[in-house]
Point group: C2
Chain length 373, copies 2
């Protein structure tokens, strides 16, 4: 009997079968060391043995791309001290068997080369393929073997030598040949945002009500993608909201938003007023939150029209703040948890990058700035 | 200039105008003491002065109804010691000026009698009206004046003498005359769940695909309401999921669910299998999470069919766990934050209670059990 007195019927991962046996789980339950009975993302610690189960794939890791919220938290905690940031990343991966920031709960993704493919793997990968993982590092068994010597601890993109394990149902994408790896990786890292944005906008368009879309953090990576996706999907108008003058200039130059508004997304009244001003007195039908700082829930709700939709992509979102905030404001808005997965999301995002010069310029600018930092 | 270098244009609440002046905000910004610039729900501390602004209403409080997640946290922390639970509630309200549990981030609601109505109030209330607040206690200025002497600290319903303040845009409902106050209060406390459940089910029905709906925690208050609402809205079939045999019996006796499944919602594989078994091999089109314990996100996602919808009503939901969980499982599901507000939600829930004997029996049973506890 389980902890709540219910019968335990199916617990294959409890036995931790040795590699070579066929008792693996497509979602990686067999790699969970503690606590037992949870999925790999909820686990404290994963089994990182290099030998693979028959449906697994082992990847030689070349680069990690840390989630923006996670990197920001580490950067702030260590006040920009790169060697301390690096030491903490190493310690997290060593103790948990995965890059899972315990404060933000987020991870990132990785790029590497396929090293071994189990005979029962259905991921369509072959040894030598250059791939990026499209599942979070928070559930990917990972071993770092070079102490991150090539990384200064000061950028989200982390050169790395080590290995990672993909499960039967993991998702990986081949790196496109027409784009630099760093650029493709940065795009795929945020590819859930444009896919879901486009889907929500299309629902309004299909209902005969092309929406006004506000994107908070419109000059960022997921934000710029969301703006471009909203326009492609038929938004009536788009507003990019940014907190700084220099970001407003960048966003204006990119041409990605019909209007650019200046506001601190953590200041609900200021934010709502800025969006209203940009929309000539109306509120947004759809508000997309791509700002990786806590405290943007109330502003997003207040900036959205009754009957509208808020999509939260920021990992800094608080569920209770959003739920109780809408209730407290008597706001009849639909609030979506930004799902990082949708079928075809990576290809969709790469297409947006290829076809929208403003997005590509913005991504390249960000990567160049990171390279200089 | 504000903290992020953006201009501050509209900060009426910074001055804390004295009552009698007209500078109040409909969402209560003028009652925020710290930190400034946030909405009352996000505030650490509220101004609880008894004198009202012209658009406010003061209510003589008779009873608090603590949010289930909040009460459970306090109960567990103090190991069921009622006097300690009471002491902590008093301390929270004294220090914050509102009943806002700092751990769960949740509050509850209250019942009372209107004591004074500002000349500019548009809430439609008159002195002497018996009302319940439909906004959270986490944003309601509250003063307790009887040290909660009448409460043993062991139930969510708290007899109380004191006063509370409603803002210009707060929501309050008259207590129905045909129902006992405790019963009406318990219904209104969860009235967001049936309203949103019905709305989501109707979207599937309107699209010609009457859905199979699974409700986790189907024998609870919000869960039983959600089951009844799903059926009324045209669900093809409903499954109530509960962790204990005695709850399964209660739920079966109520007749609220077409099928009853036994599973611990925190065990993803067990939960998904139970739902599948109840649905003859299919997954749920819509999964409603009404279980007030952490760790139900992965199970809810795994129990839901591709293209389906998960609605999270539990305040114990982790945003990051839901977002990354769906991504990690490559699950194409729409995930909604359960908004506690929808137009007409209180009347809708009261109608469900009046018209569905199984719901009323279940609520009355719960209240009787609380009375005995």
């Amino acid at each position: 009997m389980g902890p709540l007195g219910v019968p335990q019927r199916f617990r294959p991962w409890k036995d931790h079968p040795v590699p070579g046996s066929s008792a693996s789980s497509p979602v990686g339950l067999h790699r969970v060391l503690e606590p037992s009975g949870v999925l790999p993302q909820a686990a404290y610690r994963l089994d990182t043995r290099a030998a693979i189960w028959p449906d697994e794939v082992r990847v030689r890791v070349e680069r990690l791309n840390l989630d923006a919220a996670s990197f920001r938290q580490l950067f702030d905690k260590h006040r920009g001290d790169g060697s301390r940031i690096r030491a903490e990343v190493l310690e997290i991966v060593r103790s948990r068997g995965k890059m899972h920031n315990p404060v933000t709960g987020s991870g990132g993704m990785l790029v590497g080369v396929v090293e071994e493919v189990g005979p029962q793997s259905r991921l369509g990968l072959a040894v030598g393929d250059e791939i990026a993982t499209l599942i979070s590092l928070t559930l990917t068994p990972l071993v770092i073997e070079d102490d991150l010597r090539e990384w200064d601890g000061l950028s989200e993109q982390v050169p790395c030598d080590g290995y990672a394990i993909l499960f039967g149902r993991s998702i990986a994408a081949h790196l496109p040949r027409d784009l630099p790896a760093r650029l493709a990786l940065a795009v795929m890292d945020v590819c859930g945002a444009p896919a879901l944005t486009a889907r929500v906008v299309r629902q309004y368009v299909d209902a005969g009500r092309p929406p006004a879309v506000a994107v908070l953090g419109g000059a960022g990576k997921s934000g710029s993608m969301a703006l471009a996706a909203a326009r492609r999907a038929g938004a009536r108008t788009t507003v990019g909201v940014v907190p700084f003058d220099h970001e407003a200039e960048t966003l204006r130059a990119s041409g990605l938003a019909d209007r650019v508004a200046l506001a601190d997304a953590r200041d609900p009244v200021q934010l709502a007023e800025s969006v209203e001003e940009a929309l000539d007195g109306a509120s947004a039908d759809i508000t997309i939150v791509c700002v990786d700082v806590p405290g943007c829930e109330h502003g997003a709700i207040l900036a959205t029209a009754d009957g509208g939709t808020v999509v939260f992509f920021s990992m800094a979102t608080s569920f209770a703040t959003a739920a109780l905030g809408a209730e407290g404001l008597a706001a009849d808005v639909t609030m979506l948890v930004g799902n990082g997965y949708a079928p075809g999301h990576a290809d969709f995002a790469l297409d947006v990058l290829r076809e929208v010069p403003g997005v590509r310029a913005l991504f390249e600018g960000r990567l160049a700035a990171e390279g200089r930092a």
